[in-house]
Every structure is written in structure tokens, then in C-alpha cells.
Point group: C2
Chain length 253, copies 2
């Protein structure tokens, strides 16, 4: 009956301070805000594209523009991880890219397990490399006897009951749950038992986990409902007043 922190759209409170002791501790990057972490991943991707194009320096303004954030935020985000831009010039693409990769823990390949090979799970299994930089899916699980034993993308589907065994063996660090709702908590428990401490949950349930486990939720229905809210609000605003969004008149295309 632990309370579930769960981090979906919203962030977890923050990141714990390293230690209360005033003396010890590393000089390591401290307390990177959760919101910042999410954006670092975006910066990283764009830096990758710039690198491919052969660009070797960017200003915060330029990088911010392609990432869709404002430059002050970008600079502050980078400052949390102790960035090393060059004043008057900008950031060196290569080194910054490397630094962010390291900050995000992408230097060691993370092994991913996927539980639930239904509609969505199948797509996730075949996603191949997850947009380039590698999160190899190394284990697949389901309960359906028709699925257990087949191979998808070269990976054998094991029975859910083997999660603890197989995950430990393949050193899985991240678990993805794409089961139907009723099966999700069970899958989660098995992953936790296997020592997996980071979980990406696609099932529409709130998972109960011990506090050392980090859960992020991707909930398609919720995303659509949020958009639906905006559709409704727009209609409402359109109907009565004139100015709707941000005090500006709605423009017809």
C-alpha cells in the first residue's frame, strides 16, 4: 500500500539532494530538475542532427529555436549539468553532445524488456533501436501461448512467469509494460522482483511500486482527452467572447 509517485506528464517532485553532510560528496551535478532532464534528451537529439550536418558550434539561441524552447531556459538547463559553452561564441556541438549522452547515462547500453506483445507491444518490439541511439529490446514477454515461443525481430518471446529469471540474466535495466490494464500490476511486480528499477508504463493503470522504483506513464487516452479539453475550450471561447487564446483574437486561416 505504498503511495505511488508515478511520473507521467508531470514531473516527480525533484531529485534528492545527495547528502545532508556538508563536507563529503562528489562535485557531481546536483539536483537536476525533472523538467530539465526531459529537455536534455531533446537537446541531445537536435545536437545529433547538427553534428550530422557538420555544424560544430551553436549558440543557445539557435539550438533553442530548433528545440522549441526559449534560450534562457536552454542555458539554465545546460548550466544544471555544468555546461561548458564559450562566451561570445556558443557551444561546441561534439563535446556538448558527448556530455549530454554521458549525463543521460547513454554511454552504457541499457537493456530493455517489454511485457505484453499485443497491438502496441508488437509495434514497440519492432521499433528497432528506438529512434537511433540504442535501447536494445532484449527480452519479450507475454502470457498468450500462441505468442510464447515465436520470435519478433529476432527476439524470442518468453512467458511472463520467466521475467525474473530472464531479466536478471540479460541484465535488464528498463522495463516497458504494454499489457492490458488488468495484467499491468502483475507484470510490474515481476519486473520489480527481477531488479528492474525503471519502468515505462503504457497500460492505463496507476502502478504501485516501492519507492526506489521510477515509473513513467505514457497514456494515449489521457493525451487525447487533454486535447479534447482544448477543442472544447476553443469552441466555448469561439461561441461567446471574441478573444480566446492568450487574449488574442482567433484568426481564421
Amino acid at each position: 500500500m505504498t503511495s505511488a509517485p508515478q511520473a507521467g506528464p508531470e514531473g516527480t517532485p525533484a531529485l534528492g539532494e545527495a547528502a545532508a553532510t556538508g563536507t563529503g560528496g562528489a562535485p557531481a551535478a546536483r539536483a537536476v530538475p525533472e523538467a530539465t532532464v526531459a529537455r536534455l534528451a531533446v537537446y541531445l537529439r537536435m545536437l545529433g542532427e547538427l553534428a550530422e550536418q557538420g555544424t560544430d558550434t551553436v549558440s543557445s539561441d539557435e539550438l533553442a529555436a530548433v528545440c522549441g524552447v526559449n534560450s534562457a531556459k536552454l542555458r539554465k538547463d545546460l548550466s544544471y549539468v555544468g555546461s561548458h559553452g564559450i562566451r561570445g561564441v556558443g557551444y561546441e556541438v561534439g563535446p556538448l553532445l558527448h556530455h549530454l549522452e554521458s549525463t543521460l547515462g547513454l554511454t552504457h547500453r541499457q537493456s530493455v524488456a517489454l511485457v505484453g506483445i499485443g497491438n502496441l507491444g508488437h509495434a514497440l518490439a519492432g521499433y528497432g533501436g528506438f529512434g537511433g541511439r540504442g535501447f536494445p529490446v532484449t527480452a519479450l514477454f507475454d502470457v498468450d501461448p500462441d505468442l510464447v515461443g515465436i520470435k519478433i525481430n529476432g527476439i524470442l518471446v518468453d512467458h511472463v512467469r520467466d521475467i525474473p529469471h530472464v531479466c536478471r540474466e540479460r541484465d535488464v535495466t528498463i522495463g516497458m509494460i504494454a499489457t492490458p490494464a488488468p495484467a499491468a500490476q502483475g507484470a510490474c511486480d515481476l519486473l520489480v522482483r527481477a531488479g528492474v528499477s525503471c519502468i515505462l508504463n503504457f497500460a492505463p493503470v496507476v502502478l504501485q511500486v516501492p519507492e526506489q522504483v521510477e515509473v513513467r506513464k505514457v497514456d494515449l487516452a489521457v493525451e487525447l482527452q487533454i486535447l479534447s479539453f482544448h477543442v472544447a475550450r476553443r469552441h466555448l471561447a469561439e461561441r461567446e467572447g471574441l478573444d480566446a487564446v492568450n487574449g488574442h483574437a482567433v484568426v481564421r486561416s
Copy 2:
């Protein structure tokens, strides 16, 4: 060359005030925080489950528990939409459920278009009803000649070039983009031209849209990288100090 607001994990600034006029205007719910909207959708789902079980009242404590939030937050969230709980008792499941549905604009069925019938798109197309309450996918688009013309789940796949025509005809209000990255902006532009003002983007790009269009992003790679960061942090904390998360010693199961 508009700056892109884009709302992924993080929220958009807020919701605009309805009107500056002190007098007129409806008694309508004003300025619901974005973070709250996301949670309303979760409350709604859980209320649905409670209703199915035949429960007809819940306290904020109980509902909060199953939704994985704390009860103060839940009460405040509901207060933004002018909730009508009964002091000393709790909330009536049925009426509250209905009220939230209406707030989220779920009373009018929203018609959804999906662009990009690849790996992920295929799964989304076949998702069927999106977790129950209806966001019927009524239009599918791709550029691949092998896909255009086939039916998935009873819906014909049209060519991307027909987006404006078909979307207007079928009164699409929400667009989902599941194309490869390079094609995403083009798909987006076509949807916008078709009058679609809410977009759910699965492609790993930052879409440029006019400001009246609401974009939400679901980025699998980013989600994994966020988790990866936590894996890395955990390792780091484990290696040196003892206390890692929230100042508590890491407990071995």
C-alpha cells in the same frame, strides 16, 4: 517561423483568461491549470471503474489513493472545475463522472485522423476505441502506395495529399502524427490546413505550428532517456555515498 509552444511532458504556460470584461461572460470554469487537466482525465477513468463496481460515493482520500495523487491536490483540481462534493460524505461517482466528461469535452465524439501507418501507426489504428470512451479514428493516411487503398479495422487508408479534403469532410478535430521524422512537419501542415487544431505528435521532431494550434508530443526515445538518466543517477549514488533517493538508504529487496 513561429516559435513552437509544444506541450509534451511539460505543460503549456497556462490557460488564457476568458475575458477581461468584468461583467459579461459565463460562470464557466476559468483558467484550469494544464497540470490539472491531465489529472482530470485520470480521475475520470478511475471514476468509471468505480461506477462499474457499483460504488456511488467516494471520498477525496479514496479516489486520490487509487489515482496515485494526494487528496489535497485532488480536491483542488476538482475545485477548479467547480466540483460539487458533499461535505462529510465525499463525491457522488455518477454526477462527478458526468461533470468531468463534460469538462473534458467528451460529450461530443471527437473524430481522429492518423497520419503515418508504419509500425506504430498500425498499432494506433488498431487500438480500437482508445481505452473505451470514444475517440474514433475515422481517417488514415500514408504516402506508401502499398498502403493507400487498403483497409485497416474497416477504415480506408487515403493518400496524404487528401488530408485537407478528407479531414474537413469527416469533421476531424484531432490529428495524430506517426510518420517518420522527416515527414512529420509536412503532415502537420496539411492537418493544420484542414482546420485541425489539436495534434498528438509521435514523431521525434518539434513541430512548427500557428499559435492557435495545440500540439502534444509523445516521444518514446525521450521517455527512455529520462529513465536512463535515473538508472545512471542510481548507480552513481550507489557507488559513492550510501543514501541515494530522498535521503533514505537504498533498501535491498
